[in-house]
């Protein structure tokens, strides 16, 4: 085969190289550079090698302790969020009307929380939950529940989780609704004729057809909840104590509070890597879950 050699092609890909270099590679390499050094201000840097990374993974050091504790909290938070929002989103989507004016009404109402900026959501819930002037906090305390998210760890967690559910379940519901809408009527009619129960219809038709959108929903919700910063920061400021300090909050404290750029850079690299790995695992598992294994196919 004759290979055409045309060096002009390099010029054609050059713009992409430049854009990627300036938007991704250079900033990332800056972070990598910082992560290998230590600074005491005045723009003076000292080589530290992989020292920060070693510390990060060692719970006995200050940095490692804080990182691993907040990572644990973050993973727990994401797990709870997914466990609540995905089933709830599916239920909401299933109970939404299929036609008529009420569809539009439902969609608008569901979309509302998604349109509110994060820090506004935080502020809304911070006030909503206050025992003195907040509707929720006041009513709960009036009912005899000693609810106070500022001083009680459990209350703080409940508030942050309920707030996230309020804010983001709509996203899961809307995605699932889109998936449900794409199922042709013939499927439901066939299931009716086949005598399928409501549960069988869900299992045999609706869930498989929602597979793809659920994958997207789970990925989006995981990434978002794992990177959550603004809302808990506004509501609890990471407290009481460190009880709602997530990795991102810790990161900002180290980078901007203490101005430890080296530690912060190392932390953000590891943080980024964890998100990538978890998403990859989710994606692989969910994509392969629905398809048959080549080995089985061969046997059939």
């Amino acid at each position: 085969m004759d290979k055409t050699i045309n060096q002009k092609a390099w010029f054609l890909v050059l713009p992409v190289f430049l854009v990627v270099a300036f938007s991704a590679v250079l900033p990332l390499m800056t972070v990598v550079n910082y992560s290998m050094q230590d600074t005491f201000g005045n723009n003076q840097f000292f080589w530290n090698g992989v020292g920060w990374f070693k510390e990060l993974l060692d719970p006995s050091t200050d940095l490692g302790g804080r990182f691993l504790a907040s990572l644990g909290r973050n993973l727990f938070f994401s797990a709870v969020i997914l466990a609540i929002e995905v089933p709830l989103g599916i239920i909401v989507a299933l109970s939404m009307p299929r036609e008529g004016w009420s569809v539009a009404a439902c969609l608008v109402i569901l979309a509302l929380p998604l349109l509110i900026p994060w820090n506004v959501v935080g502020t809304i819930w911070q006030i909503f939950g206050r025992p003195d002037i907040g509707l929720l906090g006041y009513v709960l305390n009036h009912l005899g529940l000693n609810y106070n998210y500022v001083s009680n760890e459990v209350d703080a967690w409940v508030t942050v989780i309920v707030m996230d559910v309020w804010h983001w379940t709509s996203l899961v519901a809307l995605l699932c609704y889109a998936g449900l809408k794409s199922i042709p009527d013939a499927y439901y009619q066939a299931a009716q004729i086949d005598g399928a129960s409501r549960w069988a219809v869900f299992k045999a038709i609706q869930l498989p057809k929602m597979n793809r959108v659920l994958l997207i929903a789970v990925l989006l919700r995981f990434m978002d909840s794992f990177m959550i910063y603004t809302e808990p920061f506004v509501v609890t400021g990471g407290g009481p104590g460190n009880s709602t300090t997530f990795v991102s909050i810790e990161l900002v404290k180290i980078a901007l509070g203490q101005f430890d750029l080296g530690k912060a850079a190392a932390l953000s690299l590891v943080y980024n890597l964890i998100i990538l790995i978890v998403c990859w695992v989710f994606y692989t598992v969910m994509v392969n879950a629905g398809s048959e294994r080549p080995a089985k196919e061969g046997a059939a």
């Binding site: 042709p184 009619q189 004729i193 086949d194 005598g195 045999a204 048959e292 059939a300």
Partner: protein
């Protein structure tokens, strides 16, 4: 298995108060016998799918009743009606294997496992699906998927009827023939009442022993393929069935004679004097009109073109303003562009306002 009676059945998507002319299905009363193979034939929008959905219970009729073996099932839901239906596009339960798909309707009704297995194996055998039984149904070709849908329709032995809603639309022409003859064979084997909706006359005529022709929400004729061909009860049946369709020509009819364009065509029966004010037409299939050299005793026509269908040739001609199709007899070679038409009087029918008029022998 059941006899199906439709009693004054009608449906309007605009509600019962809508004017009757707008009804998707105008009132119809007919009986379908147990074990028969029926086809509902008509162009898109003629109400055939509506009628099918009324029987399966997906749509509730605006008026009238449906009886299975004399029992009124109109208010019953689809699940309780004991009906199987196959849709235009294959419906497959993605997460299940082919075997599980076939077993689904039985399992939902709590049939014992041994019986389910036996029945699934029998149906898979009939449809040549046995090698795929353990495979996931998602990755199969469209026609294999449609076979699974067919199988799910046929797997229950106790159904009152199996309904098919243009099930071969998505299938390649060559496989269509195979599946159609397969269905015919299944019908003989399983002794089920089958109702088949289609707009394809070949499909309807090859599948069914009784074809119900629908037009504009009305059943215009119900009969065997031969009846529909030989004696269309309505001009619509005449030109919708047959290729090319029946010639329909305005005429004056009196006694044993029809007058077209000043020319007299003899009729087999005596029609006396037909009521005035009605639109009188005669209908004759192209197969029963022969082209001949022009002669004084023949209706003369202008030849526009000849369609060669292989085994048979049809001449497209014009009589006055009316288009006509006529058979070119074997060995006849057309010369010039005028010809005479020879009618077979036994097959010339008379229509008043589109409906067949029975003459007196």
């Amino acid at each position: 298995m059941a006899r199906i009676d439709l009693v004054d059945l009608a449906h309007s998507y605009g509600g019962n108060d809508a004017p009757q002319e707008s009804f998707a299905l105008k009132p119809v009363t007919m009986t379908w016998r147990q074990g028969g193979a029926y086809a509902l034939l008509g162009p898109s929008g003629c109400g055939k799918t509506t009628l099918l959905n009324l029987i399966s219970g997906i749509v509730t009729p605006s008026r009238g009743k449906i009886l299975f073996d004399g029992r009124d099932i109109t208010p019953l839901s689809t699940q309780k009606r004991n009906i199987a239906q196959v849709f235009q596009f294959p419906v497959i339960y993605d997460t299940m294997t082919v075997g599980q798909n076939l077993a689904f309707p039985l399992k939902n009704r709590g049939v014992a496992k041994a019986e389910v297995d036996a029945r699934v194996r029998q149906i898979a055998d009939l449809l040549d699906l046995t090698p795929y039984l353990k495979r996931k149904a998602t990755r199969l070709t469209a026609d294999a998927k449609q076979k699974i849908s067919l199988g799910r329709g046929l797997v229950r032995s106790d159904v009152a009827a199996v309904l098919f809603d243009e099930p071969l639309t998505v299938i390649d022409p060559e496989l269509k023939w195979q599946l159609r003859s397969k269905l015919k064979a299944l019908h003989r084997e399983l002794d089920l009442t089958m109702i088949y909706v289609t707009h394809d006359q070949t499909e309807a005529l090859t599948f069914a022993d009784t074809v119900v022709v629908m037009h504009d929400g009305r059943v215009v004729q119900s009969g065997t393929p031969a009846e529909l061909f030989d004696k269309p009860a309505h001009t619509f049946v005449g030109y919708f069935i047959g290729s090319p369709g029946m010639n329909i020509v305005p005429a004056e009819v009196r006694g044993h004679e029809a007058r077209v364009d000043g020319h007299v065509i003899g009729l087999h029966r005596n029609y006396g004097v037909l009521p005035a004010g009605k639109k009188i037409e005669i209908g004759v299939r192209p197969e029963f009109v022969d082209v001949a050299p022009p002669a004084s005793g023949l209706l003369s026509a202008t030849i526009e073109r000849i369609d060669d269908l292989g085994r048979i040739q049809f001449a497209r001609v014009r009589v006055g303003d009316t288009k006509f199709a006529a058979r070119v007899p074997p060995g006849f070679s057309v010369s010039g562009n005028t010809a005479g038409l020879i009618f077979n009087p036994a097959h010339v029918h008379v229509y008043a306002d589109s409906h067949l008029v029975e003459g007196v022998a």
